[in-house]
Amino acid sequence: MKNKPTVGEILQAKGVSRRGFLKYCATTASLLALPPAMIPRIAKAIESARRPSVIWLSFQECTGCTESLTRSAAPTVEGLIFDAISLDYHHTLQAASGEQAEAARHAAMEENEGGYLVLVDGSIPMGNPGFSTIAGISNHDMLMETVAGAAAVVSIGTCAAFGGIPGADPNPTGAVSVQDLVKDKPIVNVPGCPPIPMVMTAVLTQFLTFGQLPEVDKFRRPLAFFGQTIHDRCYRRPFYEQGKFADSFDDEGAKAGWCLYKLGCKGPTTYNACATAKWNQGTSFPIESGHPCLGCSEPGFWDKGGFYEPLSTGKFGSGAKVAGAAAAGIAMGVIAAAAGRSRQAKFTKEG
């Protein structure tokens, strides 16, 4: 870490003015969901922060998370963050391949022993090591080897955080999440399918600027972004309170932009920042486009029933089971009545 320039130095080298830096700090505060009053502290921290080394591992995944990140990482302000980190290994993005790439990973690990950050997207198959390998190394082995010297691990996306789609029932590969395997390192989960790019960069920025991981909830998700439900921050919430609901995707309620609860919206049980951070450079988020929230940032979201099944729908067994219960009831009733009658008969005889 000794020779790495500070972020302030990097920005200066790029000819960024102090005004530009202030602007950068203001947007960083926004990004970290910190109050604007924190801007001076952020400025100070960023100026002196040094580039951390980052190793990005991709396992059973669809590259959607990387897509999400790189889409937003076009030269934007938060894109600068990535200029400020040293992405030493990312097998989708890196030019190197094969042994050369693995050598780069080992080099980064050795050089930054104890100080580098491991980002993981994708789940790890435990059913058979051969289900997913990189350079002949199983995902499990690579993960364990890489995190051994890491300062912290960030699980990017629902697959890495909770097992995600590979881990969904019936889970043919025996997929598990990073936190299922890594027990002795600080872990932050940034779930979502994909996660909001801003949230990913915010976690890195936080680590970069303050040298620490953000405060997390019980699922190790950064509280600043996962502290409230979609429902709580949804602009359609007033319609929920007024009892105005869309009953189908093409009814008047849907056209009027009413609440999508009855169409299966998982907003009330989903913790994420979509309603405020929004997607596609702040354009909108699913509900704003008229589609209910799928709840993608929640553990086991794939197995929580139909996407269009309302949250409060009970999960009843088949009619046959209910009929079985009814039949059992009849049987018990008959037995009870017979027992009662036989006692009556007995007592009548005894007088």
Binding site: A336, A337, A339, G340, Q344, F347
Partner: protein, 453 residues
């Protein structure tokens, strides 16, 4: 433990049907041990559970509103007089023995076993402090007929030999002699002849074939013999083919009141047999409330099939006869209020009949506040009037009735139940009250227009 009937003499001076106060109370009959009594009570509670009672006992919400309908609770504020509490032991036995979840109640011991102390305490609650008036049955938000349950609970108490001394003696005498006051057929004949002479009215007796069998209550025969004459006058005036029978004259049913279904059946069958024997098309019941319940609504069930004749309370008979013009009455220039006998009106469904009769009499009729179906009971029904130790409680309760009557400021108080009448007479004496209870039937008989006879 055994009680000997003979030692207890009728108190003929009392204002009501009674024995002289027993020197030593025997509120337990027979010489069963406690265990036997408990078993008897339980077994005979259990016999009564059927779909109807089960739904009632399972349905109670413990809302306590029946307490607000019960005169005993209203006047004393004693929570034990809450009607549903009076059948607590009955209810508990149901839950333990026959209810759909009886198995669990027994397995987990959820309902305490009934003890002998419980039964002794409940004797007071089931007999002294309940007239089976059924007011509670009308307040119940679940529609539970609490009064009906009390009658059934008494079955267990009787078989366990846990009846108040006097009530048991009265019932026993009724079973043995055919009359709670020991009125034999001969004595009945005497009284009838006396009345026939006194009133110069023809009273058919033991006619072989008649359309109408008229019956009497011992209370009337003994205390209000004018009723005999009045009945005869009315039936004669209507031109009925009718008769009294020495083999079936007693309308009261102390088997029912005390809780002995066998005695109840015996008493009822006497009337039915007599009516069947003479080919009667109708039994006219006297001014007696519980007789109406016993024969009109329970008679056929004792008989085991529909009765081959109609059963009418005298008020129903009079209303019908007046409506059809079979008898006519003169207008009476009086203000009158009417006390509804619970078993005839509220529980019997003949509330309107008395009012029709009163309408024909053309009096200034003053309905009591909440009269008719919601009437306060006289306090002496259900056998309570016989129980001496219940006197003070009964008098206390009677205050409600006095208030109700006084508010009408009517000249004349009438009813159509000899048992109510004797309760009134007794309480009147106790309170030195102005109102004397009169008989609706007698008023009709006194005011018959002769041209029709």
């Amino acid at each position: 433990m055994t009680t000997v009937d003979g030692r207890h003499e009728l108190d003929r001076e009392a204002e009501r049907l009674a024995y002289k106060p027993p020197e030593v109370r025997h509120d337990k009959q027979g010489d069963m041990d406690s265990e036997d009594r408990i078993n008897k009570a339980m077994h005979n509670f259990v016999k009564n559970f059927n779909t109807q009672t089960a739904s009632y006992l399972d349905g109670c919400l413990h809302c306590g509103m029946c307490a607000d309908a019960c005169h005993f609770h209203v006047r004393t504020d004693d929570p034990r007089y809450t009607p549903i509490w009076k059948i607590e032991l009955f209810k508990r036995t149901y839950k333990r023995q026959v209810s759909p979840f009886a198995f669990f109640y027994r397995l987990l011991g959820l309902k305490r076993h009934v003890t002998i102390e419980d039964l002794e305490e409940w004797q007071h609650l089931l007999y002294d402090s309940c007239t089976v008036c059924g007011r509670c049955s009308l307040v119940c938000p679940m529609g539970i007929d609490v009064a009906g349950l009390i009658s059934m609970a008494r079955h267990g108490m009787f078989k366990a030999g846990l009846i108040p001394h006097e009530l048991h003696e009265v019932a026993k005498r009724a079973a043995e002699t055919g009359s709670p006051l020991g009125i034999t057929p001969d004595k009945f004949e005497d009284r009838v002849e006396w009345m026939a002479d006194e009133h110069e009215v023809e009273i058919p007796m033991d006619v072989e074939q008649a359309d109408v069998l008229a019956v009497m209550s011992s209370i009337e025969i003994q205390k209000y013999p004018e009723s005999i004459a009045a009945t005869a006058k009315i039936l004669n005036a209507a031109g009925e083919s009718w008769t009294f029978r020495t083999d079936g004259f007693e309308a009261t049913n102390f088997g029912m009141l005390s809780g002995n279904p066998d005695w109840q059946k015996d008493a009822t069958m006497k009337l039915i047999d007599a009516a069947v024997k003479i080919g009667a098309k109708m039994i006219v019941l006297p001014e007696c409330g519980h007789a109406y319940m016993a024969l009109r609504w329970q008679g056929a069930n004792m008989y085991g099939k529909p009765l081959p004749f109609k059963v009418l309370h005298i008020s129903e008979y009079m209303a019908d006869a007046l409506d059809k013009g079979k008898i006519k009455v003169r207008k009476v220039d009086k203000s009158v209020t009417y006390h509804d006998p619970c078993q005839v009106s509220r529980r019997g469904g003949a509330t309107q009949a008395a009012r029709d009769v009163i309408g024909h009499l053309g009096v200034d009729f003053r309905e009591m506040e909440y009269g008719g179906d919601y009437n306060w009971c006289c306090g002496g029904g259900g056998g309570v009037v016989t129980i001496k130790r219940a006197d003070s409680l009964r008098h206390r309760v009677f205050k409600l009735k006095m208030d109700q009557v006084e508010k009408t400021e009517a000249d004349q108080l009438l009813s159509s139940c000899a048992n109510c009448r004797q309760s009134f007479d007794d309480s009147q004496q106790h309170f030195s009250w102005d109102y004397t209870m009169g008989s609706l039937m007698e008023m009709v008989a006194e005011n018959l227009e002769e041209d029709n006879s």
